[in-house]
């Protein structure tokens, strides 16, 4: 009896009161940031920049975060969230900014056009291209190996204990943009994808492969500092033409060169003020990013220190980003 009464009241309250809870309603489920709610150390507010798992991304994120903190007085949170989950974060309020987005037309359609919880915030100035690479010594010894058509001829070279009798194609973090499975299937390559699990695994394998003359075929991308230290050669796959990657299952062409861009949540674009302006204005070159990434990976610097170093050395560049 009591229970039924309670249930009735509850239903009534729900129906008349608030009409149900949505996950994107006015930041209802947006967790209040600890600083923001507990004290007033940063009157400017909090910006949440998702951190995707590769160092180039972190370099950009750290430079923007440093400027937000030290020039504009914001508090910055940098949660580790992988690419696709970060887009979901726009909806839940866990993410304000993705600072380096690699394409993702499907997610753009879903979150920008359909759900309208995210908006584009312009190019980062970085040109990005993904591809398959081998250490240079292999290209020297087998000049025709750089043509994807000949990969099957050399598949035996790339066998490892993990590749089950086929050639190994080493992949990175499971969350990376990937056409690998479709490419292997559609180009009828006798290769198996072996996931190293991280950027670090790719770098370590590439360095060992060139230094110890071990065969290796691996997924990699530019901009990356590694190209200035280890000689790598890209394997040519069938050339990219507009729309050849439209159906992810039928891709049989190489990756396109992409304009890397910034995506922010709709809420941040509307209410982010100067922080949003700064993110929108942020624009630098591949060389800039590689320098910060290199300091972070090989210079033993923290992200913040590497960002600080670049910022101190390049005032003219970043001062143009600061909103007036």
């Amino acid at each position: 009896m009591k229970i039924r009464l309670f249930a009735g009241l509850l239903t009534l309250a729900l129906a008349t009161g608030c009409g149900g809870a949505t996950v994107d309603g006015d930041g209802a489920t947006t967790a209040a940031s600890p600083e923001g709610s507990a004290d007033s150390a940063s009157p400017a507010g909090t910006v949440k920049i998702a951190v995707n798992p590769w160092v180039g991304y972190e370099a950009s994120a750290n430079v923007v975060a440093y400027l937000l903190k030290n020039e504009l007085g914001y508090t910055v949170e940098m949660p580790e969230i992988k690419e696709q989950l970060a887009w979901e974060g726009f909806e839940t309020g866990d993410v304000d900014v993705i600072i380096e987005n690699w394409g993702h037309p499907d997610l753009k359609k879903q979150y920008i056009e359909e759900k309208q919880v995210a908006v584009e915030a312009g190019s980062t100035g970085n040109k990005g291209v993904i591809g398959w690479y081998i250490p240079k010594w292999m290209a020297d010894e087998h000049p025709d190996i750089t043509d994807g058509k000949n990969l099957n001829k050399y598949a035996d070279l790339f066998k490892t204990s993990e590749s089950g009798g086929k050639g190994q194609l080493l992949f990175g973090d499971p969350s990376y943009v990937s056409n690998e499975a479709a490419l292997i299937k559609n180009l009828k390559l006798d290769f198996k994808i072996v996931t190293g699990g991280s950027e670090a695994a790719l770098i370590k394998s590439a360095q060992q492969a060139q230094a110890q003359k071990k065969p290796l075929l691996f997924y990699f991308w530019d901009p990356h500092w590694l190209f200035s230290q280890t000689e790598l050669v890209r394997v040519k796959l069938p050339e990219y033409t507009e729309g050849c990657d439209a159906d992810p299952k039928k891709v049989a062409c190489d990756y396109p060169e992409m304009d890397l861009d910034k995506i922010v949540s709709k809420k941040f674009a509307d209410t982010g003020g100067k922080a949003y302006e700064l993110v929108k204005n942020f624009n630098w070159t591949n060389a800039d990013q590689n320098q910060v990434s290199d300091d972070m990976t090989n210079g033993g610097m923290s992200g913040e220190d590497a960002a600080k170093k670049w910022i101190e050395a390049n005032p003219d560049k970043w001062q143009a980003w600061i909103p007036k």
Binding site: L14, G19, G20, A21, T22, V23, D24, G25, A28, T29, A31, A32, P34, E35, S37, A38, D39, A41, P53, P79, E80, I81, K82, E83, Q84, L85, E88, G89, E91, T92, D94, D106, L107, Q110, E114, S161, E162, G164, D173, P174, S175, S178, A181, T195, G196, G197, S198, E199, A200, A201, K204, P248, K249, G300
Partner: protein, 637 residues
């Protein structure tokens, strides 16, 4: 797929090994004939996968207009978020001196100055490691999850303790909750509760609630019936009896329930980071994705420290004599400590000062690099040998065997060890795996589990025997086992990753370290429990110690050893799946991929379900070992 025990029912004088050996030979022959036929190769676009992916897209589109979400799930999410945010803002508002002081004060109240000293030093160490912020987030998440787990679990537990029927109804549910590898929860949760802290807290609750329910039920069930009768005869109502008799008498066991709940929650919050829950888990995941042990290790240690501090406090509460009151001196000391901390918090910045942190990342990374390069030859040799001579051939057998042959093998083995009903359950699970389209990957995971279980049992039984035979060895080993069992599963990935990179062997190595301690314990106890009179009798007939071990102790300890095998298998499976993060591939990797790539969500989700089925199947095959009818609680602490 041979069976493990022999009961020669026929009157014929056949050697004990004849029947299983014959069946094994038969299986080998059938395999050789039908190899490669009836296999169920993996197809990443299998119908169940795409169906779930579409369901997810549908849910995503209707999250904000479907009544189930609007009036139910989203409210749960909001409520859990509210609880988490409340704890987080309270903890942050205390500032670091305040939190350290209050924890110290509570510890003093619970167990005196020693425990308080441990709490203060432990919490201070989070700041020293530079992990203050993450630690506070983890603590808030654990607090929210534990509070809610107890709020739901204790009433259910009390009910189950009072009513046999309720207990029988919920036991199988709790069994599945506990056999289910933690990884498997995450995808469905992300589907219904999205990502972030609330989803993480809910995932943690599912994992930490079963011990709260079970131990509470146990505590209530243990209350002496005389006390209850006395209370009833004095005319007390049922409510009065519950609050004045049952709960006070069950108090110290219930403190254990709280303790268990906290420990389970702590080991789960790390994994919850995969669905973007904040806290120390994010440092560990960051270390994994950068292959830097230097980032992971301090965070792993911080979780262990938090577990130890909270464990000590709760154990102290449980052990305290219920009739003694807290002395005034202790109360004053505790209050003074807490107030000093809170007062100090007003004068120092809320953030832990940077000057007081010690960065250990670089030295650890360098040490790991040294180990990697100087042991490279040995570790690669071990890894390659095991992979080439054991793992790969076994994987080939499992994946090329016809599915009906594997099914027959499972049925037969489970029937022999556990009886008809478990055997049918095991078979049903296996067929479910086939229908879900996860056959090939399940077989690969099974291979990894099999190799890991063999290694775990070999090492565990050897160490167990050694400990049973030498008191000195046992004394040295025990604290190591204790420590190993308090650590969250993730921590075991670190040394494995450092030594072996991302391969299947890495997952095997990690799961062996994870599963060995309970096996050692069970084997040691089993052997020690062999009656002394039996040993004396054997000695007096002139048996050598070796003969006693082989002919007397091991056979008599068979049940304990088989139970150890069952525990080892369930634990290994849980860990091998987590090993998907470090190169184990198969089901665990599918689950990880499901979080990472939207089009693969369905595959990840289904892989999670398949993992549960695999776990139930393995448990049913081996559960009859000690003659129990239901799987026992996993032995975690």
């Amino acid at each position: 797929m041979s069976s493990t025990t022999v009961t020669s029912a026929s009157g014929l004088r056949m050697p004990r090994w004849a029947a299983p050996a014959g069946i094994t030979v038969l299986f080998v022959l059938v395999y050789l004939v039908f190899r490669g036929t009836g296999t169920l190769p993996h197809n990443s676009e299998a119908a169940p996968f795409t169906a779930v992916t579409e369901l997810r897209e549908w849910i995503d589109d209707h999250r904000n207009d479907n009544p189930i979400f609007l009036y139910f799930l989203n409210y749960i999410r909001l409520f859990v978020d509210l609880v988490y945010t409340f704890f987080l803002s309270t903890l942050v508002a205390m500032g670091w001196p305040g939190l350290i002081g209050v924890m110290g004060g509570l510890a003093w109240l619970a167990g005196g100055w020693r425990v308080a000293l441990g709490a203060v030093a432990g919490f201070a160490s989070f700041g020293v490691f530079g992990l203050w912020q993450s630690s506070v987030e983890t603590l808030a998440l654990v607090a929210a999850a534990v509070l809610l787990s107890l709020a739901i679990g204790v009433p259910i537990g009390v009910w189950a303790g009072l009513s046999e029927r309720v207990r029988k109804a919920i036991t199988p549910v709790l069994d599945v909750m506990q056999i289910m590898p933690t990884f498997a929860y995450l995808a469905p949760l992300a589907l219904f509760f999205h990502i972030g802290a609330p989803a993480g807290a809910i995932a943690t609750m599912i994992y930490s609630m079963p011990p709260a329910i079970r131990i509470t039920a146990l505590a209530i069930g243990q209350v002496s019936p005389t006390a209850v009768e006395a209370s009833a005869s004095l005319g007390a109502t049922r409510t009065q009896t519950l609050f004045k008799v049952y709960l006070p008498l069950a108090r110290s066991t219930m403190a254990l329930a709280v303790n268990q709940t906290i420990m389970m929650a702590l080991s789960m919050v790390v994994i919850a980071n995969l669905i973007s829950a904040p806290g120390l888990g994010s440092d560990i995941i960051r270390g994994l994705s950068r292959a830097q042990v230097g980032i992971m290790l301090p965070a792993g240690i911080a979780i262990v420290i938090m577990a130890v501090v909270l464990d000590r406090m709760m154990v102290a509460v449980a052990r305290r004599d219920p009739h003694s009151r807290i002395g005034r001196g202790r109360l004053a000391a505790a209050g003074a400590l807490a107030l000093t901390g809170l007062a100090a918090a007003a004068f120092v910045p809320r953030q832990w000062p940077a000057e007081l942190t010690v960065s250990v990342t670089r030295p650890i990374n360098e040490a790991v690099l040294w180990a990697e390069t100087s042991w490279y030859g040995v570790t690669t040799f071990i890894k390659d040998t095991v992979t080439i001579y054991l793992l790969n051939p076994l994987e080939t057998v499992f994946t090329t065997a016809p599915w009906w042959l594997v099914a027959a093998g499972v049925l037969l083995a489970a029937w022999r060890v556990s009886g008809a009903r478990p055997a049918l359950t095991a078979l049903a699970c296996l067929l479910g795996i086939a229908l879900l389209g996860t056959w090939e990957h399940s077989m690969r995971t099974l291979t990894t589990v099999a190799v890991a279980v063999v290694a775990t049992l070999a090492i565990g039984v050897l160490l167990g025997i050694a400990a049973a035979r030498s008191d000195r060895f046992s004394v040295v080993q025990r604290p190591l086992l204790d420590a190993a069992q308090t650590m969250p599963a993730f921590v075991y990935l670190l040394p494995a990753l450092a030594l072996f990179g991302t391969t299947r062997f890495t997952a095997i190595f990690a799961s062996v370290i994870y599963a060995v301690p309970p096996v050692v314990r069970l084997v040691e106890d089993g052997i020690r429990n062999v009656p002394a009179s039996v040993i004396e009798a054997a000695t007096s007939t002139g048996s050598t110690p070796g003969q006693i071990l082989r002919k007397v102790q091991l056979p008599l300890a068979r049940r304990a050893i088989l139970l150890a095998a069952n525990q080892g298998i369930v634990l290994t499976l849980a860990m091998v799946v987590v090993g998907g993060l470090v190169g184990a591939g198969a089901l665990g990797y599918d689950v990880v991929l499901g979080f990472s790539q939207r089009p693969d969500f369905g595959m990840g989700f289904v892989a999670g379900v398949a993992t549960v089925l695999l776990g139930v199947m393995l448990d049913r095959i081996t559960q009859g070992a000690d003659g129990r009818s239901l799987p026992r609680k996993r032995n975690f602490t």
